[in-house]
């Protein structure tokens, strides 16, 4: 795909220059000219009022019809399936029905798979590909890349989804490089293009200032990592079952070059933040670390968990695992209460799809009010105790 400017139609208005997120358009002799920073995002095509900019699509040319089915990487840690996997199965089911006549599959690696296969069937998997081996007890980039890349070659899935977790984001790029296909990072929306049946992957870029929809037209499988906490979880259907297919394993000790000496779980409540129905978050407006005592008290009273802005985390008032936003956790609770948070775009990126947002800020022009369902201008130290009282 390439963006072309028709110099005859170009009026030199510079609208496209202003719209381009990549500074990829220069004005040369009063005409727009594309430079080498262009990523063919097409922002300029829509900006041009004179139809002077067009985007050419390449034709596929390659035969991709051997690739079928939607796969989900069933990440597990210590025998427990990571929560995002159930979100991927929920979305994967939608994608499979939109493509039509394909299976939803999971690929599960580990030492003892126990009843994890059953959980995957109950969450909607038609087929679970399994790899059970001593060397797969814990995640390693080397071991997992080899097993999954081999399985992709053997079974040819059309789409593979991974959670954008620390493990998913370590693994998926290596697989993409090995099987030579594209990978779209940290997607927040996935759809099927009804015309081509290809996947449309939407993700934030430029710190959430811009959204981009990405295709992978000529390579298979199409692969994405998906941000945890964004997709709806699959409905569990107790007793539902499916087919288990062991993959061909060709794994030696020498394949795994790294050695895990220790795995330590610190008491963090990352998981409860994504699952919480109510979140009370505190920001720099708390003034100091002790402000979180009030936030905690409020959260305890109303059955919520504590979140935080990055400014509060950076100040050392609370652990990073509480951070909500682009570089923290994405949350979608029923009720999100922001106390003393300004509402920077990176924070909004992680919470603006909450069902109800309540914001308390003493500045009436704080951007958080632009996304709040209920805004209260006032001092949080006066408003929060009143809210606790009124909650009953």
């Amino acid at each position: 795909m390439a963006v072309k400017i028709n110099a005859e139609k170009c009026k030199g208005c510079t609208l496209c220059v202003k719209q381009c997120p990549f500074t990829a358009i220069d004005m040369v002799d009063k005409k727009a000219v594309i430079n080498d920073k262009c990523t063919a995002c097409g922002a300029c095509v829509e900006a041009c009022k004179f139809g002077a900019i067009t985007k050419e699509e390449e034709s596929a040319g390659k035969d991709l019809s051997a690739y079928k089915d939607v796969w989900v990487f069933a990440e597990q840690r210590g025998g427990a399936i990571t929560p995002v996997v159930f979100e991927l199965l929920g979305k994967g089911r939608d994608l499979a029905s939109d493509i039509g006549d394909v299976n939803l599959c999971a690929i599960l690696l580990g030492k003892n798979l126990g009843d994890m296969t059953k959980q995957l069937f109950e969450a909607g998997a038609d087929i679970v590909y399994t790899a059970e081996h001593d060397l797969l007890e814990n995640y390693t980039a080397d071991g997992y890349t080899k097993v999954i890349s081999d399985a992709i070659h053997e079974f040819k899935p059309e789409i593979v989804l991974y959670g954008a977790t620390h493990i998913g984001r370590d693994l998926a790029p290596r697989i993409a490089a090995r099987v030579n296909t594209g990978l779209t990072a940290d997607c927040t929306k996935l759809d099927i293009d009804q015309e081509t049946k290809g996947i449309l992957q939407t993700r934030p870029a430029f710190g959430g200032n811009l959204m981009a929809t990405i295709k992978c037209p000529n390579h298979r499988p199409q692969m994405s990592t998906v941000r945890p906490g964004v997709m709806d979880k699959a409905q569990v259907q107790p007793g539902r079952s499916g087919k288990t297919v062991p993959v061909t394993l060709n794994l030696q000790e020498s394949d795994i070059r790294t050695k895990i000496l220790e795995i330590v779980k610190t008491a963090k409540d990352m998981v409860s933040l994504t699952d919480a129905e109510i979140i009370v978050s505190g920001g720099a407006g708390l003034g100091d670390a002790s402000g979180f005592e009030l936030i905690q008290k409020f959260a305890d009273k109303i059955g919520g968990v504590v979140g935080a802005s990055r400014a509060a985390v950076d100040a050392g008032w609370i652990d990073h695992s509480h951070q909500v936003g682009q570089t923290g956790t994405t949350v979608k609770p029923k009720i999100y209460i922001a106390c003393g948070i300004s509402g920077a775009i990176q924070h909004l990126a992680g919470m603006q799809t909450s069902d109800i947002i309540i914001a308390i800020n003493k500045s009436p022009i704080a951007p958080i009010f632009e996304v709040a369902d209920y805004g209260i201008v006032g001092d949080l130290y006066q408003v929060v105790p009143e809210l606790m009282e009124a909650w009953g």
Partner: protein
């Protein structure tokens, strides 16, 4: 030891704002900076250099000619030399094609013990280029490194950040590590360093100088294609609740009850 650090020049996205009326990006006055995680990656390399005599640090960037600015900045902090991969043919690359290009340059360099990259670049936020370079070179990787625990002959011990804890991992060299901000506090440029950096020359390579196929680089080789880009729709502004703190609190709770949230 020979250490390579992959660095990228990025727009300071913290300053990028959207004009709410036109929906366009406001770029005026937005500076280009060294990608924050890459600064931590460089700092880790420089600390290894400080602790191990005879260590050299080479910084590599792929980008337009002005990306040379960040390479000068890295040398002013203490990197020994710098390579800029710059050519029209590299333009518009996705992570697949970018990693091919950078790995091509590293194949040409040949001898190295450790490659550092940042975890992710703040313009694209993909965190994919580091692992993909490692894959192209056939070397092991650890991502999200938050501490270098031990540095020995032919092997490193590092702490890898996880969402709910960490892992301690031993990895043989040559290897690739990606840095998160918790790894260290980057140093500032020194006056002497700035002076020296401007004296040094930056090596510039195009596709002709490195072992890569023409069909593995740039926009045409990239498997992913941007189909459309748009500014996110802001969620509408709701109700501003007036009154004393008490009145406001009571009103909000009433509303929640009315809507059956409570």
């Amino acid at each position: 030891m020979k250490i390579l650090v992959c660095v990228k020049q990025v727009p300071n996205t913290n300053e990028v704002k959207i004009n709410p009326k036109t929906g366009t990006l406001i770029r005026d006055g937005v500076e280009s900076i060294l990608n924050p995680d890459d600064d931590n990656a460089l700092e880790a390399a420089l600390q290894m250099k400080d602790q191990n005599e005879g260590t050299t640090v080479t910084v590599i960037s792929m980008g337009p000619p002005q990306a040379a600015d960040v390479l000068v900045e890295c040398m002013a902090k203490g990197a020994d030399d710098a390579i800029l991969l710059s050519s029209r043919a590299f333009g518009g690359a996705d992570t697949w094609a970018t990693s091919n290009t950078i790995a091509g340059a590293i194949k040409k360099i040949k001898d190295y013990d450790v490659i550092f990259a940042g975890r992710q670049a703040i313009d694209g936020d993909t965190a994919q280029v580091g692992p993909q370079i490692a894959e192209r070179l056939g070397i092991p990787q650890v991502t999200y490194v938050e501490e270098i625990v031990k540095c020995e002959e032919k092997k490193l011990t590092v702490k890898r950040q996880l969402e709910d804890g960490y892992e301690i991992i031993e990895i043989p060299t040559p290897c690739l590590l990606t840095a998160v901000k918790e790894l260290n506090t980057p140093r500032y440029m020194s006056v002497g360093g700035i002076y020296e950096a401007y004296e040094k020359e930056i090596t510039v390579w195009s596709e002709k100088d490195i072992p890569v196929e023409a069909d593995a680089i740039g926009i045409n080789a990239s498997p992913t294609k941007v189909f459309r880009s748009f500014t996110p729709e802001p969620k509408g502004r709701g109700i501003m609740v007036e009154g004393t703190p008490k009145e406001a609190a009571v009103k909000v709770v009433e509303e929640l009850k009315k809507k059956h949230f409570l």
